[in-house]
């Protein structure tokens, strides 16, 4: 009897095993809680299930191309994956959603989620970001400031392993860094040129979760730059290679894959969540698991949809939704078309190895009165990468021996730049549930309604213009930008749908990511973000998760949950 009960009863449930769910699993299990991690997709065992990681280019039947049939199954995901990593992306045909306006929802339903395929860019937010909403009146005020999260950034960076350089920028705080991935000749050239031509900005080494030194038996990076296939050397940070391993080693982890969460079950008597009802993805059987606390880490859109589908007498509009903010204020980062240029020089320089990193031009607009933009509020940063052209990028002519000679020799230097800009919180940008249209498990389809406002569009135009200008000033030729801008969602940074705030009337979570309305439910994925800033957000999710877990553990110990 007791044994049977244990199958369904835990101290904590974590929904999702991606970058933030992995952290919740690690912190809660190491804190002594018997923890159930629910993952809607299949299991992906570290290394063993990285089926393409060791393949040579010639071992893929059609190179990196997807077949027409595979494209048909992935009309949305196919812009973000190819034949080498498609197994870490969903088939859209199996997991439909409704786009009221074009919005890419890029997903990886598997243990580890999108932590397997993420871009690994890791930047701290600063008070410029935490104070932005209060200062310009968009959205609601963040309930935290940099001082509240700083030690948690330290804590997760120390564990993750972020390579980066100390740059002493107030609005992009330095962290606990491994040595940076160095810049190559063209990147240094652009760094120098920007330093010379601009007073308001600098080019820095990208801060990435790739190990330039070994850490706790992981890594170092082997510089193959094939991260999205999964790394057999554990050279970059993913849940599979780190947090889930430690959670497992604690002896307190139960991981259940193929578990699609239908709803969080609310108990009217205790005014707390009792547990989580799942549907087995394969057998379609419904099962309820019970726990004292619940962490939702399903990603911004999925977490909001679970809450909206968790209807009870007390919460007819979705669990913890007395503010009616759940699903609203959806944000991504606005990305521009991408700018490129070639450089006719430094031809005596090359490199060995393939950098998984980037260069970064941190935000340089609206930092103070001197950098105030007349076109938009808030700001953007620019990521880039330089390399010498090879057969993939080089423009060649003719055929025969002359063609072979052109292919054989390293081409010109080329740099590509792409902006990542802040999206303002806007109540109208939202997800909702469509009960008329259901998926194969009978769950209502997610409907996304998202549109850039004039601020985002002005920013997008500005990033293209300034990128081109910086390259021209650095002597690049053939400077141009791609003409079609990617649809919203393309940055794969969706966030904001279950925001933190000070006031339960206008926000869903308090300063510890705890639901205002339901105190034993915590939400620490991207949905908690009160504003989007322009930095790649995963590092902040991780820091907030670790912080919320420690708060929850303390509350549990004091019997307050």
């Amino acid at each position: 009897m007791e044994g049977q009960e244990n199958i369904y009863h835990f101290d904590a449930i974590v929904v999702g095993s991606g970058i933030s769910g992995g952290w919740a699993a690690k912190e809660l299990t190491e804190g002594g809680l018997k923890t159930l991690v629910l993952e809607r997709g299949r299991n992906v065992e570290h290394i063993k299930d990285y089926t393409t990681a060791a393949k040579h280019p010639w071992e893929f039947e059609h190179g990196t191309h997807l077949t027409q049939e595979e494209l048909k199954e992935r009309p949305i995901q196919s812009s973000h994956c190819n034949a080498t990593d498609k197994h870490f992306y969903v088939k859209d045909s199996e997991h439909p959603y409704i786009q009221e306006k074009p919005f890419k929802w890029i997903r990886g339903y598997q243990v580890g989620g999108r932590s397997l395929t993420w871009g690994r860019q890791s930047y701290r937010l600063s008070d410029l970001d935490f104070e932005a909403n209060r200062k310009d009146g968009h959205g609601v005020d963040w309930p935290i400031r940099y001082k509240d999260i700083k030690e948690w950034y330290d804590y997760v960076e120390e564990y993750v392993g972020i390579s980066g350089a100390v740059n002493s920028l107030a609005h992009l705080p330095d962290g606990v860094f491994l040595p940076p991935i160095p810049m190559n000749a063209i990147e240094k050239h652009l760094e120098e040129s920007i330093g010379k031509n601009y007073k308001d900005r600098m080019l820095i080494n990208g801060r990435v979760a790739n190990l330039t030194q070994p850490k706790k038996g992981r890594g170092p990076c082997m510089y193959r730059n094939l991260c999205s296939r999964g790394c057999p050397f554990s050279g970059y940070f993913s849940s599979n290679s780190t947090t889930l391993v430690d959670a497992f080693n604690s002896g307190n982890l139960t991981l259940r894959e193929n578990a699609i969460v239908k709803e969080v079950v609310y108990d009217e008597a205790s005014k707390k969540a009792q547990g989580v009802k799942i549907i087995d993805a394969i057998t379609k059987e419904e099962i309820t698991y019970y726990a004292k606390i619940i962490f939702l880490n399903a990603s911004a859109i999925a977490t909001a949809s679970i809450l909206l589908n968790s209807v009870s007498d007390s919460f007819p509009n979705g669990l913890g939704n007395s503010s009616l903010q759940i699903g609203h204020n959806l944000m991504d980062h606005v990305v521009n078309e991408g700018t490129y240029g070639t450089y006719n020089g430094l031809l005596d320089k090359y490199y060995v190895g393939r950098s998984p990193g980037t260069i970064y031009i941190p935000r340089f607009q609206n930092l103070d009165d001197k950098t105030k933009s007349t076109d938009f509020i808030r700001g953007y940063g620019i990521q880039g990468k330089g390399s010498r052209e090879n057969w993939e990028t080089k423009k060649t002519e003719g055929f025969g021996i002359t063609l072979k000679e052109q292919l054989e020799t390293p081409g010109k230097w080329k740099i590509s730049l792409g902006g990542r800009g802040e999206v303002l919180p806007n109540y109208e940008n939202r997800i909702s549930l469509d009960y008329q249209n259901r998926d194969q498990w009978g769950l209502p389809l997610v409907k996304v309604h998202f549109e850039y406002g004039s601020n985002e569009i002005a920013m997008m135009e500005h990033m293209t213009k300034t990128s081109e200008e910086m390259l021209r000033k650095a002597g690049f030729e053939n400077v141009g930008s791609y003409r079609t801008s990617p649809p919203p969602g393309s940055a794969v940074h969706e966030m904001g749908t279950v925001r933190m705030g000070r006031d339960p009337k206008t926000s869903v979570l308090n300063k510890y990511n705890q639901m205002h309305d339901v105190r034993n439910v915590f939400i620490t994925d991207g949905s908690c973000m009160t504003s989007s800033a322009c930095q790649n957000p995963s590092l902040t999710y991780m820091a907030l998760t670790a912080r919320a877990c420690h708060y929850a553990l303390n509350q549990l110990r004091s019997d307050l949950l």
Partner: protein, 190 residues
């Protein structure tokens, strides 16, 4: 002179002619075309790619089995427009060879083959803008497809990547800046 004229004929056919032939299909939804037709043209494809990337002190496209790569790509990955263009291109090359030289491509002398490829190569518009519109409307032209797939298939083949180019599966270190050696080959992967 005659040859020139005939080739201009090919160009017209490969360019505008195909469009006329398939215009209706292009403008009224996806052209339906039966896949699986390319294997019978394998010897022609093989002969052509081995002129595009010939054997020298390093292997040619044929030895690297690029013909199989092209076949696989065209049958399974190519959009319909490209498949149609490619298939018609193959037919027209043979037609022109027969008209001009009285033999199909495989039966032509090396000089004749080279001449034919030279003319095909010159066929894509020098005007980037017109080119882009054309591609958008009709898909890439026959020779553009053949040439770029030959390069791609060759440079990702084991022989191409390891013999013509420099391939390092596991670099282990990143040296961001080295002085280039005169013998330095381009990296096969980025």
């Amino acid at each position: 002179m005659n040859r020139r004229k005939a080739m201009v004929g090919i160009l017209a056919v490969t360019g505008m002619g195909i469009a006329a032939f398939t215009t209706k299909k292009f403008f009224f939804g996806n052209p339906k075309v039966q896949r699986g037709q390319l294997r019978q043209h394998l010897s022609l494809i093989t002969e052509m790619i081995d002129i595009i990337i010939p054997p020298t002190d390093t292997p040619g496209a044929k030895e690297a089995h690029v013909q199989d790569y092209i076949l696989g790509y065209m049958e399974f990955c190519a959009p319909n427009k490209e498949y149609v263009n490619f298939l018609h291109g193959l037919y027209e090359v043979q037609d022109s060879c027969n008209n001009m030289y009285g033999a199909n491509f495989e039966g032509c002398t090396m000089e004749e083959k080279n001449e034919i490829l030279k003319d095909l190569d010159g066929s894509y518009s020098a005007n980037d803008f017109i080119n882009k519109i054309e591609v958008k409307l009709r898909g890439r032209s026959f020779f553009t497809i053949l040439r770029s797939l030959t390069i791609e298939g060759y440079c990702t083949s084991k022989l191409g990547a390891t013999e013509l180019l420099a391939y390092q599966p596991i670099p282990t270190v990143y040296q961001a800046e080295i002085n280039i050696q005169p013998t330095q080959k381009a990296w096969a992967t980025r």
